[in-house]
Symmetry: C2
Subunit: 219 residues, 2 copies
Amino acid sequence: MQQQARAIETRAAIIRGAAAAFEQRGYGSTSLAQVSAAAGVTKGALYFHFDSKEALAVAIIDAQHEQSAGAGQLLLEKDVPGLRALISMSYELARQLRDDLIVSAGVRLTIEAANFSTPVSAPYLDWMVTCEEFLRRAITAGDVAPTLDVPAAAAFFTAAFTGVQLVSDVLNGRSDIDQRLTEMWALLLPGLVVSERWDELKNLAADVQRERAAAAALD
Amino acid sequence: MQQQARAIETRAAIIRGAAAAFEQRGYGSTSLAQVSAAAGVTKGALYFHFDSKEALAVAIIDAQHEQSAGAGQLLLEKDVPGLRALISMSYELARQLRDDLIVSAGVRLTIEAANFSTPVSAPYLDWMVTCEEFLRRAITAGDVAPTLDVPAAAAFFTAAFTGVQLVSDVLNGRSDIDQRLTEMWALLLPGLVVSERWDELKNLAADVQRERAAAAALD
């Protein structure tokens, strides 16, 4: 039992160390020796848990996606109105990207994974499914027109978020990501919200951003 | 003179070979020996032109950006109406990404360049400037409301295009990129076009996509 607990701990330490090393040097330029040094484990322990650098990257992507998808699941379970949940999700993902090394490393690796032996498409497809569910709830609530092409919109929001966080990362280390997301929603809401709900919902993104900032200040 | 011409040719061959090698294996996992093999030049010739792998990547990014930005410049010079130019530009970039190895390698390297010693931000900033000019022309033409936050919209379109082409690349090698762009514009036009021009412009993206396909079929 104790041995098993230690193995789980070592595996987590390797994932944290690898995330730090990949974030610092990029995936392609990081050696497994640098990963074992960053994780504080022997190369033997590293190879016991992961048989290749790609296996390590996939483990980081899985850990990141589990954490990020968990936030989406929580919004679905708490029955947050669809449009509000969609918008909240984007700010929550942005927070994770800023605060959590596993998440920022996982997202970067997902983007760099175009050259992996198996391309990493599951996170994008999962986000599309979650966005579709938020949009269907928004349609049921009467906030969004039932004529919306739900799969197309869900695919676009997933892609747009990917681009917004990436460009914000390159230009200023994601320091302006919340502002950029609020600007994104200001441009997208007119194409989503039905006219009868417009006055009530037109500032929804700015409202969510402000409420989240107020809640974070209380923590 | 002849020696200079040969040097220019060798440099271009190295850039093409490096683009092919980076596209195949990813930047981090490609060695300079693999680049010189792909380019059909000696390692000596390679080092004569480029003193590091990063210098090579930057040269590919520069070549790509020159070509892509040229298409934007052409639309500005030909006085294409702002909104139509903005939309045409997105399809033209998509075509270059599909048809031109230097462009697809350059865009991928730009995205992976977060770990370069000097981050590559110029292409994003250039695109934002071009999009701003298109949007200002659309405002002058009365297609877009003068209340639009032009820098915010230009920054978002640049980021959204980056994400759309990236996700399309991961999921199906960019085979659906034109369709994804048409869906993107369908979601964005309601937030851009003034109500008096809506009937005239609501199908602009689908129209541009169809016109480009017809023109390509004649080539």
